[in-house]
């Protein structure tokens, strides 16, 4: 082959080769680390397969393997799962005429929430690195996203009840009698949920420095606290609602006990994380432990609030649609108490009672936002104050060793030097070694 022809040939083959290499690298990047050898093997073996369709078929089989592995694993599978869940949530919340101002506002909020939830993982990955290598971290991310996405259609259903004004009759009177305003709460929900997603993504990222033990403690305490709060108040903190399994008043001792336990959950998680965290730096023995404790407490509050919000809003939204659930939840004798004159107005009118229940529950759903804001603040206040109290005590050695012969706490001094030398006292440094 002559010079110019050879150069043309090289130029012609360089492009496809580069492209093939780029495809190979992209495929490898998508493949889970444990399977990269196998993908490389298929790719390398393709060089032995006769060129043409047979080689293409060989590589196609390899791509099938990659696709299956990748789909079975994380990344694309989770992305598809998120896209499907987000589309479902958005579709559920898309009813109503766009000409109606409230409906268009809600659509904008749904779009904003979905867009933010889609972009946040990319942003946090860039800022804080990928997800930490722990099953609890991954499960927490997926669960948190599922909970946040579940609030979208629930909030929409409740918004429809709040914003739809009855045309006439008793329902219209009830509509004006019962407070149901939610100006700006949809935007607040988007902001709060964005913050929740961002903090959880940060806490479960590789650069957050939260240990798996603290992560587990926070998740466990959060789930327990969330379930307890939901059990106590499935419709939030509505004064007009009770629950079917605590047929008492708002100040039922069991309810108070449950709330006490819930508030103590962050402290428990912080203590567990403190206990399970090893001292990294002897000069600052409490620093790493305090950080883990605060992180675990914060995580507890986030998980519990998110769980309560998703379950509570879901229950309330379901109650609006399902009559049997409404009958079950509003069974108590104290239904509708606290609203002046309402009891007499709806007495003997099941439809009016049902509507007033729906309207009050929908209005009270905004309390979940208060829970979402208050829980982390309480957790931070509880653990932050105790961390301030701990401070950074100086490393102090008592003049005598502790009883029991356990030796001094903290790093031990080395053995005495050979030749009968002795170490200087603890206040002196190694350069003051005395050799006899």
């Amino acid at each position: 082959m002559s010079g110019p022809r050879l150069a043309r040939h090289r130029g012609a083959t360089r492009g496809p080769r580069r492209m093939r290499e780029a495809v190979r690298l992209a495929v490898l990047r998508m493949t889970p680390a444990a399977r990269r050898d196998w993908v490389e093997a298929i790719w390398a073996e393709a060089a032995e397969v006769p060129s043409g369709w047979r080689r293409l078929a060989w590589l196609a089989g390899g791509m099938r393997l990659v696709a299956r592995e990748v789909l079975m694993r994380r990344k694309v599978g989770i992305a598809i799962l998120f896209a499907a869940a987000a589309a479902l949530a958005a579709a559920t919340a898309w009813s109503g005429s766009p000409a109606y101002l409230a409906a268009s506002h809600e659509r904008a909020e749904v779009l904003a929430m979905v867009a933010v939830l889609g972009c946040l993982p990319l942003l946090t990955r860039w800022l804080f690195g990928p997800v930490s290598d722990s099953r609890a971290g991954r499960a927490l991310r997926v669960s948190a996203y599922a909970a946040i996405l579940a609030t979208i259609p629930a909030w929409h259903v409740l918004g429809l009840v709040r914003d739809t004004r009855p045309r006439a009759g008793l329902d219209l009177r009830l509509y004006f009698l019962i407070e149901h305003g939610d100006q700006g709460l949809g935007v607040l929900l988007v902001i709060v949920m964005t913050l929740y997603a961002a903090i959880i993504l940060w806490l479960t990222s590789q650069r957050s420095r939260i240990t798996p033990a603290a992560l587990r403690a926070g998740c466990r305490a959060g789930i327990v606290a969330g379930v307890v709060v939901y059990a106590v108040a499935p419709l939030g903190l509505s004064k007009q609602a009770t629950n079917p399994w605590l047929p008492g008043s708002d100040i039922d001792p069991l309810v108070l006990l449950a709330w006490g336990l819930t508030l103590l959950a962050p402290a428990w998680a912080a203590a567990a994380a403190w206990r399970d965290t090893a001292i990294v730096s002897p000069s600052r023995p409490h620093r790493s432990r305090a950080r883990q404790g605060i992180s675990a407490a914060l995580l507890t509050s986030l998980v519990s609030a998110l769980l309560v919000t998703a379950l509570g809003m879901g229950t309330t939204a379901l109650m609006v649609r399902e009559g049997w659930l409404r009958q079950w939840l509003y069974h108590g004798s104290h239904q509708l108490y606290g609203i002046m004159g309402l009891g007499a107005l709806v007495h003997g009118n099941p439809q009016a009672i049902a509507y007033s229940h729906e309207l009050t529950a929908s209005s009270d759903a905004s309390v979940f936002l208060v829970i979402c804001i208050a829980f982390p603040l309480i957790a931070l206040a509880l653990t932050g104050l105790s961390a301030l109290d701990l401070g950074e005590p100086a490393v102090h050695r008592p003049e005598r060793p502790p009883p029991g012969g356990g030796g001094w706490p903290g790093p031990q001094l080395g053995p005495p030097p050979p030749g009968g030398g002795q170490l200087a006292g603890p206040s002196r440094e190694k350069d003051r070694l005395l050799v006899g």
Partner: protein, 112 residues
């Protein structure tokens, strides 16, 4: 189809192909030709067998000039036993004592 041994017919054919020459490392393409399986079927089987410790895999340490290194496979002792139990190989073809399976190790220089 799943045989009584718990292996599918395709897996049995791969086990049989590997058990034919149990001491020799074999290539994916050669196995594909022997078993008449496509790469999309053959490699998932090899991965499953390797995950279960029945097949060991390694990279060729002296590739042919201008060719990428190839991935090589052979049965482990457990793999040979499983193949014999499944009827994919005769027990008589079992070689002597073999070293413990070591995935990701470098292949011996003599490659068929």
């Amino acid at each position: 189809m799943v045989a009584r041994s718990g292996f599918s017919a395709q897996t049995l054919s791969v086990l049989a192909a590997l058990a034919d020459q149990p001491s020799q490392w074999q290539h994916g393409y050669a196995l594909a030709k022997q078993t008449d399986l496509k790469s999309g079927t053959l490699y998932p089987i090899l991965i499953r067998l390797a995950d279960r410790g029945l097949v060991e895999a390694c990279w060729q340490d002296e590739p042919q000039p201008g060719r990428p290194r190839r991935h090589l496979y052979r049965l482990t002792t457990d793999g040979l036993a499983a193949a014999a139990l499944a009827g994919a190989a005769e027990p008589a073809s079992r070689p002597g004592p073999r070293p413990a399976p070591a995935r990701r190790r470098v292949a011996p220089p003599a490659v068929p």
